[in-house]
Symmetry: D2
Subunit: 435 residues, 4 copies
């Protein structure tokens, strides 16, 4: 059957690349992927999937780092003008741009889920001939949005994979859920999809990324490691302005509260059970040189090699932020802007799909592990599935790169898209083959 | 002769108010007073003064807080379009908008100087009928520039006073210098005019302000107190960015350097010899949540009731800023953005001109002192004159106010302009009358 | 009658000096003045005064900075061995070593109070021939206790003054209270005596100091200024120890809490209404290099030129200390260890007694004011009397000095004791003379 | 031959334990092990070793954390009174209490070194019947010194092992160096012995510890892991005192410099290549509540899982300490008080000696690894040997414990001493057997 899979995908490789380039051209950032999600929803519908979106798959209360209503409105208009289906956009109102395609196979069996992220980066795409997307005319038309982390590739793979699964449905047992997740950048989107309950019944969940740790085409690993649990946090301090010369004691100094917070946050103790991180990346405070600063904003993040360590650092951070406010008699409002769990792959699932990858002859090298070296909120899906007794693993498909991830010259090798799709197909068949 | 003075000014009161309103309408901020200064230079020339401007009266090396070349270019174009004399504007290139009118009297005698400040505030003027300048059609046409500190009134007084001095020149002995100073807001302009040497030969120097400590028309004091010496300082920290998750130790954290600086700056010891102030009014640092912050900017100011105390605080601040940079392995660039001396009036000059004010019957009350409660860089002129053996005093002329200084509804009582001008005339005659 | 006063004191000048030297030799520090107070109580009793001590004049709940029970017990034994009267010592148990001598005069009239402080400094007295007390054999026999602030002189004056008041009682109207206050050093004693209510009925209260601002014999002022209100505070932080290598995250770091407190305390804003001070004088924290520090102690003080300003600084300090503890998840206990009010003399009382001083011809110069430049808890008495409608003033009697106050070579000119006593007598007669 | 080894040691087990108890009773802390070292030197001499001590094996310039001359003098006297050999003590003057026994075997061959640490802890030994050393009468007679880390056991093993090596010398090839190191507590001693060059010619070096990671008798590992590289550092800040009320600006505040240092030290960035630690364990500053603090002492340590990481943290710390001093205009003196390298065992040597341990049947379990979870300056010896091309490994011999290491009730199971000695013997024979 593997041969069939390969032929099926081979026949659609041009379409696969075309999808990728279309998505690249109409790059959309977190919670604003109205056109992308609408396109996905249309394709899934056409393929016979039950399509869930909006409130069905995104829990509004758990959304983090959502743009303002005005920004969302503008993005919806932009998406509509770029061909989004108004019916889907209406359902996705409020930025709930997650889409899940669900299909029952020929027999009862396990529920398997595949997750693809769909959002672009907040980045200005390079506009020089050195950059292939520009040279070949498919660079982003949406200024400030750029697919610099290969999510366009992920989404394209997801769409062809959806065709494949539909094609082979009669040979399979169980149920498939193909998850298209918004807002992975800033690790903001998974939590809200997980909170909707969409993976509570899942037995096997697979995630995938192009590149990152594997920077060579022809490589793959089914055992991606190094996920750092993380929490993204904004802290807004509010004090009282006063003339710094005439009546300084009547002010309440938000800048000093923020400065004290920053220093003491970085002094959070190391954790003996693994690596941790704290970073105050941005501090903006004050209104004028001669005014006691009435306001300050901190943008920070905590990380840990496990969810427990991250929660330790996060708990310390919250206490310190509140105390820093109390120290200067100001108030502080905290808002979680993103997050990801620390997570591990299930070793036996890894072993099983690694064997598939080995047998497939799709790759020159199937590596025992690869390091993502950062945070990815797919871990929220994996953690939930594992909590409910399911198994999860995260694949990394190597690719040559024109420039590193998040770079304005980022571009990957499109020839890796097809084998990645075939591999997913092979895994699907293995996990759900009829007895 | 006092009667003559009063009649001379009375006859020009309409013109005095017209000047004020014209200047108000074409408000120009620090170092951009091309139209105002050009108008002053034209009037002084017409009256027979020797007129100095540009490099002659502004030492470029001592200018602080100068706009960028691009901004100055734009302001020059704006001023030209609003009637500025191109010949003067050319001379004032680079923002050197100080103007001095010099005239020798009938006999040798003392050199007396009168200083008027001419710049507007960085402020949006109210545009409602509640605000007289708007109602009467003379509110600022230059958005973002507003005369909210009465410098329009000061300049208008200076122009009519220049007429008066020219008119009475045959009766007087010595030399007069009428100084029109740019960039008093932010206390940026006096230092550069003083550095040009323009007051090195001055025996008597008088400064004046409307309102501030005296908020009632009909009052005056010749003994303005409470000048705080001050220095305005920008500190720019430069570090090295790094990924906060993947390689934090390779970064150099400018945000923490700035935060440490801010806290420790505020911990500078009180001074036993008088009041001091330190304020970090603005701190902006960092580029993104997950990046070790490579840059930070602090805007701060020091103050003291004497120049010595301010210099103590400033010296401490410089040491702390440099040490904070060293602490985090980053660099820091410091730039003085403004400054004023702490200063005292000469008691015998105060007594002499207070007596003149009393005798003049121009005011309901001549108060023994008034408090400016802040910083004014006229003190640089006063200090220099006193160092060279001359005497200086600073007058405050009370006025009813529509709203406080620097408020977008600021407006004063124009009936106080004429008596203020007469008083300056009387002082001039007293100091320079022929023997 | 002035002549009589002078003769009365002149006849006792040797005794006056002998008292001073005896008290100097048996110097006793705060709350341990058992021998001094017992001697005072005996003398007052012999002179016919009603004598109050212990709980009658010291409110235990308001005592600050009291030694431990063991230390007090040892001091009592020491005092008894040096001649203290056991009956008084028993009454003074717990360190309540305040003594008040009360006497009603021949007629009803005002209640006047004179306050003298009696305690020595925690200091090692010089033991070289350069130092007169050592040379003449009256230096302290109590190691670690030394009269280095002239309180021995104050007490001696108080004793002879008590004789004088008793001698003249038939000529006077009203009531006298002669207050001997312990624990002025560290400003710990006045608050507890005031809290006992002992001056609630006082119409006039006078305090006195030798030297400080007036360092020349023959000078005096009735208008001592520059009292700084102050609060002395100890903060004890308690955290949790942990091995700094093996499990740092399980500790709670009291050292960092204390360090953060210290820095942020010093950053308390200046006050626009007058001078303020904050000083963390001592910080001791931690148990070992490789242990997360479980404990820390801060010793600090706040000051202000007025009680309001001191209370502002103190209030800020308390908030910061609590927040610093919260920041590091540790506890903090705060204990007030001393305090004094900021205070002003009543101008009309100053005028009245200055005139007496002028008329007396006891001094070469009666100065309009003198600066104490520090904190003195006599201000608590003054403040209470003023709150109840009475009047208060604080005299400073100049004296040549061998070395500055609190120096181990401190010694003053004993010839100033007699005129100081006469002046107090003259003031008493003026305030209470029979109609 | 293994049988012979066992019999040899078995016959000396009582002596082995007697040595341990004698050393326990005369516990001596770092650099003061005059009696212990003298006893070792005597025994080695008697056995025919060439004995090196004092300057021969301790480089004075590299000694860290040395007691004062007065303390050393007192310790020497104490040791002499407890039976130390005056000739050795004279050689060890200045605390150079390292001893090396050197012996050449029957044939040329490899140089093998065994290192034992000999010093006690700064601790008060429990004096209750619950504590066997007390109950059995061999608890420390030197108050404040206690063998609470089993170095008494290590030294006793070393002495019997020296007998064994001498006994078997004819059967062996090469040279042996038995190193008795002082001052392991505080990781102060190894560096100075290494600096003397004593292990520069060593081909194999073995270290050993009882307990720590293996808390069960009958266990052993030849692969001790988890060594943290560390540096111990004292920082002494010197400023200028001043009266905090009267002239605070004339002081130079060492307490605030130390507090700023402490906070910013703890904010040193995490390192991406492994775990790091920083701890300011002690901060003592200031002289009195109302004095600007003129002095402060910090005791701190840095750690890292590799020498590189520790050096990173240490380098940051030095920069921060210097900058903190500069920030407050004070001076700082830094002194290294101890240190250890991060280190790894040579895998093939581990394999070789693990096999010996397995074959020996001395232990119930030979574990693949054990964690020391801290710092041990034996790593300096290991690192040096490895740098010169030799191999090193560190054994841990499990033991039941009465209480944890460094506890005042610490005691171990003396039955583990004999098998540990046999194992070392077996290793020696394996490494140096004649061809």
């Amino acid at each position: 059957m593997h041969k069939q899979l390969q032929q099926f995908v081979k026949a659609r490789e041009e379409k696969l690349i075309a999808y990728r380039r279309d998505l690249h051209q109409y790059a959309e950032v977190a919670w604003s992927e109205f056109r992308t999600a609408s396109l996905v929803a249309d394709k899934l519908t056409a393929l016979g999937y039950e399509v869930l979106t909006g409130d069905q798959v995104v829990d509004e209360a758990a959304m983090m780092g959502v743009p303002t209503a005005g920004q969302l409105e503008a993005e919806q208009q932009r998406a509509l003008s770029q061909g989004a289906n108004p019916a889907w956009v209406e359902k996705m109102r409020g930025g709930k741009t997650g889409v899940v395609g669900m299909m029952d196979f020929a027999q009862p069996g396990p529920t398997v889920a595949f997750r693809f992220d769909i959002d672009a980066n907040d980045a200005l795409e390079a506009e020089t001939d050195k950059h292939r997307p520009w040279r070949d005319g498919f660079s982003s038309v949406n200024t400030g949005a750029m697919h610099a982390c290969a999510h366009d590739g992920h989404t394209a793979i997801g769409l062809i994979f959806a065709e494949l699964a539909a094609q082979f449905r009669d040979k399979l047992a169980g149920r498939i859920k193909i998850i298209f997740q918004p807002a992975e950048e800033g690790v903001r989107g998974a939590k809200a999809m997980v909170a909707s309950g969409i993976v509570d019944d899942v037995d096997y969940l697979l995630g995938l990324h192009l590149g990152i740790g594997l920077k060579k085409s022809g490589t793959v690993t089914c055992n991606t490691e190094g996920f750092l649990a993380t929490t993204k946090l904004d802290a807004v301090f509010n004090g009282v302005p006063a003339h710094a010369g005439a009546a300084p004691e009547t002010g309440r100094n938000a800048l000093l509260a923020a400065a004290a917070a920053a220093l003491n946050l970085h002094a959070i103790s190391r954790h003996s059970q693994g690596a941790s991180r704290i970073n105050v990346g941005v501090l903006n405070a004050g209104t004028g040189r001669n005014v006691i600063p009435p306001s300050a904003v901190l943008k920070l993040e905590t990380r840990g090699t496990t969810t427990t360590i991250n929660e330790y650092v996060y708990g310390e951070a919250v206490r310190i932020l509140n105390a820093a406010a109390a120290m200067y008699g100001v108030t502080v409002d905290l808002a979680q802007m993103g997050g990801a769990a620390g997570c591990g792959n299930d070793p036996d699932l890894v072993a099983r799909i690694s064997a598939i990858a080995e047998r497939s002859n799709l790759f020159e090298a199937v590596l025992p592990s690869g390091n993502i070296g950062g945070s990815e909120d797919c871990t929220y899906f994996m953690e939930r599935v594992q909590k409910h007794g399911g198994k999860a693993a995260y694949l990394m498909v190597g690719t040559d790169l024109a420039a590193g991830h998040h770079d304005s010259y980022f571009d990957f090798d499109e020839t890796v898209l097809a084998p990645a799709t075939v591999l997913l197909g092979a895994i699907l068949l293995d996990l759900t083959k009829k007895k």
